[in-house]
């Protein structure tokens, strides 16, 4: 445990200088909390308890949700299985915002768990940042525009395929995302078009509550603790046998075939294009790397979806200035043995493949 801590401190040092701006919310909360407590000491009215409660809540909120130490503690305490893959990715992103990796970010990768393969590239290049959020959907990319605005990267790298575009969006996962005020109506309109106004309104409301009350948004951290205490009888009952990578890939391939549909490609592509336009407007060049997954999954239907997403993405690149599309054919070939499951590469293959893609991007 101690060794791991030392290692992580070293890694934190390697991440660059501390980003003091990220501490401003904590500072404001503490100042407001202390001011309320100070005022409560002098106030003898019936509202005194309310003032003290609010003061403490603000200070506790600053301590729990606005310091890298607590985010790191949460990150160490829970596994992805306990809190969810996306949730753990959020913790990582929250830790990283307290560090300024370099004065200017050259490359920023944002995407789903497949983008995690770029982690090694980021470790070796301080001007390379990776934000990998498990299951990130096209509708969510424009919600993360603040990353591009704050880091101002010269290049944004997206790893996208029909794997992302041909899937129906699931609004339930959105509550973890930030909700930029200027995107509220945009989000509502797009969710309404896909899922109806009731789902759209419920999702936006849930996100707004999460934005206002971090205790609610990050409640999964505390619920994971109670789940540990209580045990989960239903989980015990449904323990699946361990699968080999091949079996796992086969199973996920079956899932893919039943989840990807042609009808979602255009709508998802237009959502993604919103983000691409945001990046370009921010002065970044966007590289769209055509993604791929385990060869075992491809059947005729998926090949057809691939052709469609390929043409949609290349058209997007052609339409937008400063956007480049790098198709699979231009990338190094991947074989079944490179994968640990249906979508993710083994650590060695991840490193080799991501380095090759990075070289490709730098050279283009």
């Amino acid at each position: 445990m101690f060794e791991k801590l030392v290692q992580d401190l070293e890694r934190a040092r390697a991440m660059g200088a501390i980003n003091w701006e990220a501490f401003v919310p904590a500072l404001l909360l503490v100042v407001a909390g202390v001011a309320l407590l100070y005022y409560a000491r002098r106030n003898k009215s019936a509202y005194r308890v309310g003032l003290i409660t609010c003061g403490w809540v603000l200070i506790l909120r600053a301590a729990l949700f606005h310091t890298p130490i607590t985010w790191y503690a949460f990150f160490m305490m829970y596994t992805s299985e306990e809190i969810g893959f996306r949730e753990r990715n959020m913790l990582q992103a929250n830790i990283e915002k307290y560090f300024r990796r370099s004065d200017s970010t050259q490359y920023l990768v944002i995407g789903s768990s497949q983008s995690r393969m770029f982690k090694d590239v980021a470790t070796e290049n301080r001007d390379f940042s990776v934000y990998s959020f498990a299951g990130l959907q096209p509708i969510e990319y424009p919600l993360w525009v603040s990353l591009v605005e704050s880091r101002k990267p010269r290049n944004v790298i997206l790893y996208i395929s029909e794997f992302d575009l041909a899937r129906e969006s699931t609004p339930a996962a959105l509550y973890l995302d930030p909700l930029p005020i200027e995107r509220v109506t945009w989000l509502y309109d797009n969710l309404s078009a896909q899922h109806g106004s009731a789902v759209a309104l419920a999702t936006v409301k849930r996100m707004a509550v999460g934005a206002l009350i971090p205790e609610y948004r990050f409640g999964y951290l505390f619920r994971a603790q109670t789940n540990r205490w209580f045990g989960s009888p239903s989980a015990n009952a449904n323990q699946a046998p361990r699968l080999t990578p091949e079996q796992w890939a086969q199973e996920q391939a079956v899932g893919l075939r039943s989840r990807l549909y042609d009808k979602y490609i255009d709508v998802n592509a237009s959502l993604l294009e919103q983000f691409v336009a945001d990046c370009v407007a921010n002065g970044s060049k966007v590289y769209i790397l055509e993604g791929q997954y385990h060869p075992v999954a491809y059947d005729e239907n998926l090949r057809q979806l691939r052709r469609k997403s390929h043409s949609v993405l290349s058209a997007m690149a052609a339409r937008n200035r400063n956007v480049e599309f790098i198709p699979i054919e231009a990338q190094p070939a991947l074989a079944s043995g490179d994968y640990v499951d249906g979508y993710h590469l083994s650590p060695e293959s991840s490193r080799r493949f991501a380095m090759a893609l990075f070289t490709l991007v730098k050279g283009s």
């Binding site: 019936a46 509202y47 308890v49 509550v209 205790e215 505390f222 209580f230 009888p233």
Partner: protein, 472 residues
Amino acid sequence: MLFNSVDFIIFFVVFYLAYRVSNLRWQNILLFFAGIIFYGYWDWRFLSLIFFSIASDYFFGIKIYEANDRRRKKLFLIGSITVNLSLLMVFKYYNFFAENLIAAGHIFGLKLDWFTLNVLLPIGISFYTFQSLSYTIDIYRDRMPPERNIFTFAVFVLFFPQLLAGPIERAVALLPQIKRERHITAEDLTLGTWLILWGYYLKIFMADNLAHSADLVYATSAHPNGLEVVLGTYAFAFQIFGDFAGYSSIAIGLARLLGFRLMTNFLFPYFVTNPQQFWHNWHISLSTWLRDYLYISLGGSKNGTLQTYRNLFLTMFLGGIWHGANWPYLFWGVYQGGILIVHRLFTSRTPRIGQEHDGAPAMALKIIFMFQVTCLGWLIFRATSAHQIGSLVQSLFTSSYALTPLAVATIKQLVFFALPAMLIQFYNWRRDDQFAILSVAAAPKAALAMVLLYSIAIWGEFNAQQFIYFQF
């Protein structure tokens, strides 16, 4: 609209800001429209039902009062009761009776061609019809004059804090508050806020989380062992208490913020030693309603022992049916009537049992015993069918009491989700004051408020789970 929804919180904040800057006339206008929005938000079509109820009871109230002789008064009262009970019969009970008659017909080889109604149960119908009924009955009993202003009467029926699930407030207590100037004090604001916070804690933290444990045991596909049935039923006992007492607490707290005083609906119901006390402390607004308008009308305890038992039984039987049209509620009513009669029998023959001056150990034993008796009632109440009641009771007596993973998880959940609330209840109960906890110093009080707030925010289920009593 549900109290535990974001929509309600936004609605109430906007409403309250307007309410605070208004005079009495405008406050009542706001209350009227707030009631309409609050109820119509669920399904605006059923507003017509409430308006019909308002119009008919307003009319009957005046007619009862103005009738010259007792016979005519009675006739109008019967009219009011018939209209109100007809609404209940059509929307709440018709399908139950029709389906059971068809089933009974099958047994005797008869093919009955009754149709069933494909309508939703109007939310809160049992509450507002009982509230309206108390108004006409009180006028008949010369306890109050009728309200001449139909708008004021509508505000009384549509008073949104308690419209959907009570407390079933009496017109004699609420109508005068609607008509007089309201002065909202600092005490109203602090007590109101505390009641709302406590209510949300009971509902969102305790009830909604324990619902999962209870649901696992009461799922129709489950085959729980004896211990799991016991623990699942305990979970349900605290769930239903948290759900309903939570709703009442929020309702009373909201009313307090508006300058109204509503009756207490729950007073330490799990710290009682006998069934009679239980009904003095559980859903007080319904039990006193049943006592005043049904038990006493039937003759109460004035006509000898047997008549008293019959009246008790009938009152509790109808109280059970009030909860809804299904067999478990009916059996629950029978059970409650039964245990009240047994308690009366024992206390009349062995008066020592009725004495309340026991030492702490004896008192504790009685409370624990009574809790088991109450829980047996909850088992009947929570079951989905008569068949499930049978199989769960069979599990209680014949199945093993092995400590399974589900049992262990349920014990931990009971400790985490129910024990803190029960400790606060215990503290207040020992001091015989439901607000005793508020007399501690400011710092511990603030710490308690913070714990409640964090518990709600972190472990709260915010997918706006309905309150159990909405279905009644």
